[in-house]
Amino acid sequence: MSGDPCDRCEELLQDFLDRTLTDVEWQEAEGHLAGCDYCARRYRFEESLRKYVRTSAVERMPPGLMAKLDELRGLDATA
């Protein structure tokens, strides 16, 4: 991959956070992040944003639903 190393680092961002990079790509990203504050900030931002998305989107099961599900036990396959 030629060109700007920050562009390359940006390309690796999502897979880095998903932990799906190959060892070689991982080292490539880590190596660049160690010396590039610009990319390091953006990686940290993305990671925090993911946490924010997760915590904001989670809604607990309403009370009463569990009892309704429990009543479904034993349903006949032919019913």
């Binding site: 990671e47 099961m61 639903l65 479904l72």
Partner: protein
């Protein structure tokens, strides 16, 4: 029938009842996680409750088609996402447009610029978003992208599980996930700027 026939049959029935009870216990222990995903796939709490109940009704009826030892959470979610499609979610008000393809850094910078400063710290950015901004943004991205984002980023499913649940190739999961995340951020960035 042999002499031991009735006894064997009784044992078979007892074993089946036990297996079924175990299956139901395990399925119910996952209800909160199933609901969490369902809630973000549909527009309202009532719809999510209905969808989860339909899912469990179908799961309990077809419990014998579940292979013990495999991922039950993914099995339940596969039923749920199929039911959701069957329910004709096309009528939902979600626009069917393709998400824009802005890059990750561009979107991060755009969110940061909402504060009129160069500093990029997530805490500063999310402070400018309202409580329900993520929920709203999720509801505005096209369903095929939203499904994957919800499964992976909120439901904690792997790419492989999401591919199995949605019955699409893993590469499709990855591309929809990346595009869905960008679409989500695009909405958040717009909100941060307003």
């Amino acid at each position: 029938m042999s002499e031991t026939g009735p006894d064997t049959e009784a044992r078979r029935i007892a074993t089946q009842a036990r297996d079924r009870a175990r299956f139901e216990e395990e399925a119910l222990s996952l209800a909160d996680q199933v609901y969490r995903v369902a809630r973000r796939l549909v527009g309202s709490r009532e719809e999510a409750e209905d969808l989860v109940q339909e899912t469990y009704a179908r799961a309990f009826r077809s419990w014998s088609s579940y292979t013990p030892g495999t991922n039950m959470r993914a099995w339940l979610l596969r039923i749920l996402t199929n039911l959701n499609v069957d329910r004709g979610r096309k009528i939902q008000r979600t626009p069917q447009t393709q998400p824009l393809e802005e890059s990750d850094y561009y979107l991060a910078n755009k969110m940061a610029s909402a504060g009129g400063e160069e500093v990029l710290e997530a805490d500063d950015v999310v402070e400018r978003l309202s409580q329900d901004s993520v929920v709203k943004a999720l509801s505005e991205i096209p369903p095929q992208f939203r499904d994957v984002v919800v499964l992976v980023d909120i439901g904690d499913f792997t790419y492989a599980d999401a591919a199995q649940i949605l019955d699409v190739p893993i590469g499709t999961v990855m591309s929809r996930l990346h595009r869905g995340r960008r679409a989500l951020k695009q909405h958040l960035a717009e909100e941060a700027l307003t």
